[in-house]
């Protein structure tokens, strides 16, 4: 759901950029104060960049890929990890690969980095003690992606690029399916695998079950 340049007028894109910068600044503060797992972070970033290129086909001639903010948040024990990691990935994608626009970088960071990571992580935290880590990470990643897609639809409606109702309908529908086949499944798979084979790689906070 990388928004390209031209889909949001500059006057509105500036506002999303300012809001995104506030979140990025706080994620840097988090990294300075509470973050220690440098190799885990860099390895996750490489994997998330790679998996974002793997579009999975869904019905209606469409496709979608995992975005990874919720995975980073769960494994590093903080939604700020998702913000920090997705910021780096989205900047590289926009500058080097023409994937997502430059003027709308703030909006893309806000949607896939901030909204997805926060919604998904806190759903995971709320559910993991009750339904287990696999189901909680699946639902968290799924709803994180869907919420980010709906936020994108609202921004594009304000921009006059999508009509509000149909935009919400199609963005919501496509990403509900993408969230099931890509984001939810892959997040649950990686989280359960890492917790099983390598829990010592994770910060203590990410190993809590309730």
């Amino acid at each position: 759901m990388h928004i390209p340049d031209g889909f949001i007028p500059l006057s509105q894109a500036v506002i999303y950029t300012i809001v995104a910068i506030a979140f990025i600044a706080h994620s840097i503060k988090w990294a300075r104060e509470e973050f220690h797992e440098v190799p885990l972070f860099a390895t996750l970033a490489a994997g998330i960049f790679a998996i974002q290129a793997l579009n999975i086909p869904i019905p209606w001639g469409t496709s979608g890929h995992m975005t990874g903010g919720v995975l980073a948040a769960i494994l590093l024990g903080s939604p700020w990890a998702g913000v920090f990691l997705l910021t780096l990935v989205l900047v590289v994608q926009a500058l080097f690969f023409a994937d997502g626009g430059i003027t709308v970088l703030g909006a893309n960071i806000l949607n896939m980095g901030v909204i997805s990571s926060f919604v998904g992580y806190y759903i995971y935290v709320a559910l993991r003690g009750r339904i287990g880590i696999a189901s909680a990470s699946f639902i968290g990643a799924w709803l994180g992606l869907v919420t980010a897609a709906l936020a994108t639809a609202v921004e594009l409606a304000i921009a006059g690029t999508f009509p509000l109702r149909e935009g919400l309908l199609f963005m919501g529908l496509y990403h509900m399916v993408i969230g099931l086949v890509a984001e939810g499944t892959l997040t649950a798979l990686v989280v359960t695998t890492v917790l099983k084979v390598s829990p010592d790689m994770l910060p203590v906070k990410a190993r809590e079950v309730v």
């Binding site: 440098v38 290129a53 496709s63 890929h65 780096l88 990935v89 023409a98 690029t161 790689m201």
Partner: protein, 94 residues
């Protein structure tokens, strides 16, 4: 198993996905592009403001799949180095 070895395995998986993605990825438009196709108001709006060195995950001048695989390898290595450097600098500063 040593943590270093496990990180190497995980990084190997990341690079494996990067190499395979050009062959396995669906060429269908993504959710946002498919939505945009439905609305008159979204047509001809997309702009190319800057020229990227690797547009659409290809290296200009190289033909075929090799171009996409090379672009993915460069991108994955770049992200790893950049995020390692940024994370290291910040944790050291803290």
């Amino acid at each position: 198993m040593l943590q270093e070895r496990r990180y190497l395995i995980a990084l190997g998986i990341a690079f494996l996905i990067a190499v395979l993605a050009p062959f396995l990825a669906s060429p269908n438009p993504d959710g946002l592009e498919s939505t945009a196709e439905k609305f008159e108001s979204a047509q001809d709006k997309e702009l190319e403001l800057v020229s990227s060195p690797f547009p659409d995950y290809t290296i200009p001048g190289i033909e075929g799949s090799a171009s996409e695989v090379a672009a993915m390898l460069i991108g994955t290595a770049l992200i790893f180095i950049l995020s390692f450097g940024a994370a290291k600098a910040l944790t050291k500063a803290g």
